[in-house]
Symmetry: C2
Subunit: 178 residues, 2 copies
């Protein structure tokens, strides 16, 4: 993975793709499938929604950092499989043959993904919302144009179709550097 502009990092999350989130604390690490997330601001901050029923939650609380990774469309079966089991007794990286590399923090980057954002936890809300500060973004140049995956939530998934550029209509609303 190559460093990616932190100003543009929100563009990895804003389209609403399925994410894989990695966490780590002490000798433990985990990866979970995450579809409940949003951009909060351009700094960039993000919010995710999850809870103590996930093993990753424990590592997120203990470690205070995570990686939000955007998997390409051809990872669909892997993404579902990661979401179906708990990491409490299984190292899902080994089990699903997920290649990793080290970023700034303990949770690993997922090499085969489109992009990754390393985040620091700013706050846990009692409603199960976690506020994250994006600290370092990464892009996989070989995967940058891969379609993303979107979960419908009922077992159906949709991958990105036609793309169109309306930048000229929106120029005045785009943040600096984007």
């Amino acid at each position: 993975m190559e460093p990616f502009s932190l100003q543009k990092a929100f563009t990895l999350i804003e389209p609403g793709p399925v994410l894989l989130m990695t966490t780590a604390s002490g000798m433990k690490r985990d990866v979970m499938t995450l579809t409940w997330h949003m951009v909060v601001d351009f700094s960039p901050r993000f919010a995710i929604s999850t809870g103590p029923w996930n093993f990753s939650w424990r590592l997120l609380k203990a470690g205070g950092t995570c990686v939000l990774a955007v998997p390409p469309a051809d990872w669909i079966r892997k993404v579902i499989a990661v979401g179906m089991i708990s990491g409490a007794e299984t190292d899902k990286f080994a089990r699903f043959d997920l290649e990793t590399e080290q970023g700034r923090y303990a949770p690993p980057l997922l090499t085969g993904c489109i992009g990754c954002i390393e985040c620091r936890v700013l706050r846990f809300f009692e409603e199960g919302i976690v506020l994250l500060q994006g600290e370092q973004a990464w892009l996989n140049p070989q995967k940058a144009d891969s379609p993303r995956i979107h979960a419908v939530g009922d077992g159906r998934f949709v991958t990105d179709g036609a793309a169109a550029d309306y930048r000229s209509l929106m120029a005045e609303k785009l943040p600096e550097g984007v």
Copy 2:
């Protein structure tokens, strides 16, 4: 629009589409384009991220309700146009020829959309996050299978492409009634 199962309402939001959000208070109503949103739980609760720079914010604070509407792919230019101007001095429903109908609360449903969810504000967080309780969902049967729109955030938009059903792999994780 026809009533839609509230248990399934989160499936309108989980794929991460661009939304139009309607608000109303007193004699004023507004509609804004919203790409920063997520599901919070299956009850269903949702979170959105916005702030006082939007006219809709004022109506959301005053009225305490909103409609999250999912526009079909062929609304892309309308969605961008709605996002480019403020409703403070313009009735965007009239200006952009948006057909509406009345639901349970004051903010109108958008008839031409794929689906709508009427929500009540549960809480405003100082970070600009608003927690919403979905109260009533609606589906447009003529538009139910339309592709959705996803914003990249830099002026590019992507519409839904291929869909696939992996329900059989995920059956044990799906919530009741979905």
